[in-house]
Symmetry: D2
């Protein structure tokens, strides 16, 4: 057991605080002889990196990942891969005010209640900065999955404003062209304007992210507490600020009749069945069906805002707080590459678990 590890056979342990000297991860269980170098990690890290547009925090971190072990002459060796990312742009003085006050919506109070101590600088361990380690691990997971499986995510709702373009008309190439990871250029523009308003008002806004994996073969996952959807739910819910996760039709399935919700099958190519719909989100009984694996999750609005909020201090006295510093007005945006990383890690783990029990 570990509070700071996830996965079983593809196992990721992360460490580090927002304003400590460094953050990083140790990834264990990677199959040997996969090509891997720091550039593989950097590609994904750069997508999550802060300061890339006016819509994310202006903290400037190079997020340069250094591989300390587990790779020899460009190939994984099967031993643990340690990745180190140094923190370079800590401005801890920004956070003086929060040492003694609990920011509403943040983990300040609960860390204090649990541990009787907390590294208050920038949220310490509870900071979304930790997700850089996940993205590094996710890049390794992609190598484990190989070219047959692709994982991609997009922002599909900003505040109450849903993307209205149907999923089969999304432009996945557009996702990396706009700073909001939106699969529709017009919507991205509308959201950017809305986000400017939010930022100028010193407030923040929530979002919904869609993440999917293509090419997952039928058979990954396991009954009954190693279900693929269960592990995806846990992985996505563990991302900072996430408050809800759904698979396939999700909450919408509650409103359906059984005759509508059941994904009918007909003979498909290569002997595998063809499903006429995908309400299941590619998972039946916790095991992948060969269809795309589809999940969505809700991200609450950033809790660090310039609107003053009532709170208490460490001595229990009433006070007010404004959270200065450099923050994302919508943490859902940078959650997009993080979602891909978590999905990739869960799938890599299940790929190995399936091979262990069933071979092939």
């Amino acid at each position: 057991m570990s509070h700071n590890s996830f996965g079983h056979l593809f196992r990721v342990t992360t460490f580090g605080e927002s304003h400590g000297p460094a953050i990083g991860c140790v990834v264990d269980g990677t199959p040997p002889r996969l090509s891997l170098d720091e550039a593989d990690l950097q590609r994904d890290l750069d997508r999550r990196r802060p300061g890339q547009s006016r819509h994310t925090t202006q903290r400037r971190e190079a997020d340069a990942a250094r591989i300390l072990s587990g790779v020899f002459e460009g190939l994984t060796t099967g031993t643990p891969i340690a990745v180190l990312i140094e923190n370079t742009d800590q401005r801890s003085k920004d956070y003086g005010d929060i040492a003694g006050k609990f920011r509403p919506g943040h983990a300040d109070y609960t860390y204090e209640a649990k541990y009787g101590i907390r590294d208050h600088r920038g949220g310490g361990r509870s900071s979304a900065r930790e997700t850089a380690s996940r993205v590094a691990a996710g890049a390794i997971a992609r190598k484990v999955l190989g070219d047959g499986v692709s994982v991609r995510a997009a922002l599909v709702q900003l505040g109450a404003d849903r993307l209205e373009v149907p999923a089969d008309s999304w432009d996945w190439d557009e996702v990396d062209r706009n700073p909001l990871f939106c699969p529709d250029a017009a919507t991205a523009e509308r959201w950017a304007a809305r986000l400017d308003d939010v930022r100028k008002s010193g407030d923040s806004i929530g979002a919904v992210v869609h993440v999917e994996a293509l090419g997952v073969p039928a058979g990954w996952g396991a009954p009954v507490y190693g279900k693929l959807d269960q592990d995806i739910a846990a992985a996505l819910m563990s991302i900072n600020a996430v408050k809800g996760v759904e698979i396939g039709a999700g909450f919408g399935a509650a409103a359906l009749r059984g005759s509508e919700n059941a994904d009918e099958m007909e003979p498909g190519p290569n002997g595998a069945p063809h499903f006429t719909s995908n309400h299941a989100g590619g998972i039946l009984g916790g095991i992948s069906s060969g269809q795309p694996v589809v999940a969505r999750f809700a991200v609450k609005p950033t809790s660090s805002i310039l609107v003053p909020r009532r709170t208490v201090d460490r001595d229990g006295r009433a006070t007010e707080i404004i959270t200065r510093g450099r923050h994302d007005p919508c943490v859902g945006i940078r959650a997009v590459p993080v979602a891909e990383a978590m999905m990739a890690c869960v799938l890599a783990d299940h790929a190995l678990r399936h091979r262990a029990q069933c071979g092939g």
Copy 2:
């Protein structure tokens, strides 16, 4: 690692198929000297038991739980508690048709794809019958939590029809008076009529369940992959037919501004802060805040229906299937006591995990 265990310190392993000789569980890690007997388990099992009303499957199972170990003279000893529930009313002949055909929405195809074999009788391991073991484990978990923590659940949506009574006006005593576990008598009546229609049409319907825990102290849960909400999400998503989970404001949080979503604090009794709202669902940064822990989850409509659906057989040929047998028209109903059990198990685990690291 185990595919069929969950929890770390309060660890539950279940076994058994719907139409095998028995199902059961082994619960390890229970503190010693807690009073426990079979009646404690039976109380919760009887709430989940089939055949209690016309709204659930007519399979007649006594669901009599027998404790095989770990209890001595009415007290837990700290050693594993094994619970055995014999299957008595298997009518496997009902299932002849499904041996060779894959039921849409069921795990038939995916089990076959994974293992190349499946116990097709009544769904085998994928049957919701497995949840009886969870309920037995949940009754033990309640003992671990003690009287200070109470866990309760209710049906809050049937199909698209939401309970419109606001949460603070729910009648929790009503939940056990109607067969739908609805916290409002009038709504229960309306839903019962709707459910009769659904059943008569041979179809099924989805639902949403609300589950909450009162009395959870601040400090349970742990960063960053041992988050309380992450473990609740995994536990609830592992219940048969669940397709979505949310904590607190959940997907609704995506539509809020940060200034609306942040639960403000003011000085409360006993030095602990008083939160003026609970969008967080009692969890901040993965750690309980002392507020009620609140989750909801969506249950898809039962996949076993009398409406014919297109499918393929084991040889890949197109065919149709009607699922006869005895089924719940809405599996969401009996998911209510299961939800309580899973929530109780997760909390018991975290209570022990917290005590391990932080004492007291």
Copy 3:
């Protein structure tokens, strides 16, 4: 984590007390489509079964194993295999005296110190009766390993009296012909006489068991905390009354020079190296080398003896105790089939772990 489970991918959980209604195990992770029935388990269980000769306890247990799940039409399904063994010959009245006194060498005092309660009947959970569950699990492990790997064990020392026949002259067929599992008929006779003396004196005696696996391919095990020898050491040390474990040359290696201890290699058949000796016991750096995997372990003399020993009672007062009841004068004997089971379980686990990470 679980105190009562071992293995990671081939995962065994046991439950039950010596004088409760039943003992048993749940084995998870077994690959699907292996042929398995109760007779497979019974063969090994009968070798461990008490009452087979005058040299073991006269308790009469059928040790009839019943498979409750995970097997369908004679084949494993990949779901958990639950095995139940009912206790039928409990004479708990024999144990009245030990309810209030701590038997020296037994776990009575430490269970009481840990839990503040213990099921004193026959040692409860600490009884060697628990090892029947291990043997059942071991029989399943052998199926996972297949015919290519064979595991066998023998008694090689009784008290201070070592088997003097060199290992390459042992008669493995003889092991199952004498009740002491000794690989030499003459020695078995000598030990039987010695054991009669010990039994008649109301005392007990220790032993050393040798266990080995043939056919283990090179590559099982893993650095640096998943070492094959580490897991074997843990598995053997967990057997009741075991006080020491060694691999290959073991403690004898301490007395050697590096030039003597190093197992030299020369070109062997099929491209694999041929080792000219096996001081390593088939394991280098925690990974199997393709040589026989060889371990030995020391079993202390049975603590249940008729010789009066000084002790204290539950109130801390000085007293004496004689342990009546039916006991093995040398628990090392019945540890032989248990050792095979544990070795098989560890190897099955590592076979799956290796396949997970490295394929094929």
Copy 4:
């Protein structure tokens, strides 16, 4: 599961290769608010550090441990503690010869067989250099244990030459005064001379290490696969070159009668029993008895020797090898502080596990 982690609640993950840029560990589960700084780690690291005397490798490593996370203003925060130790004195050119040949007694061949690739520089992951990470973790474990528990180790056999001073006459202060960690000055001198001979002959020699913990309360450990002795056996067997482990009387117990081996009890101070002997090594039924916890382990002679040995190369051809480079003539010496670290880590884990289940 992880191949490179150990412990459950006090969980240690290590990474790094002998000649990579750095090695290190992540320690998770440490209770909060323990005082900890880098000097605490350095004290123990300096005892293990190479190049301290002529009897250990002449590689010069500062082994300067840097704490990257989990400590704030001199106190642990309860979040993962990452420790980084940079490698500074790699002379990889020394190892050119071993890239293509398998050193007998080393893990070269088995890593290659498992992974199809290995970082051959200085043994890569299989190098004893990894044990520096263990020592760092052990220093943290000591903090968890607090002043009430002390762990100490000593060399008690060099080659076939046993320390003849009885344990109760050992001079524990002497252990840190001589470079062999021997608790008797005269013996240390004799061994030093012997070791000089061995080194000059280009050969190496084995050893036996004794490790014990004082102050462990009764009640740590757990039946039946979480036994304290089982976890100690695993932890010690995982140390490089260890081939045997024993607890208390160990293999000697095999030669005893039950009446000799049973540690009798009499009323002791504070209500706890006083044991008149400690054949059990402080552990009964896998649970600590309150007596000193005592273990011993055998270390094989260093496999890196200047005596030419027959081997094969990566192409399977016969060849000879001499292992140049800088090596310990007796790896057992530096295993002494490593043994303390492993014992401390196991005990810290069980302290937390006990508190989780049983409180206090």
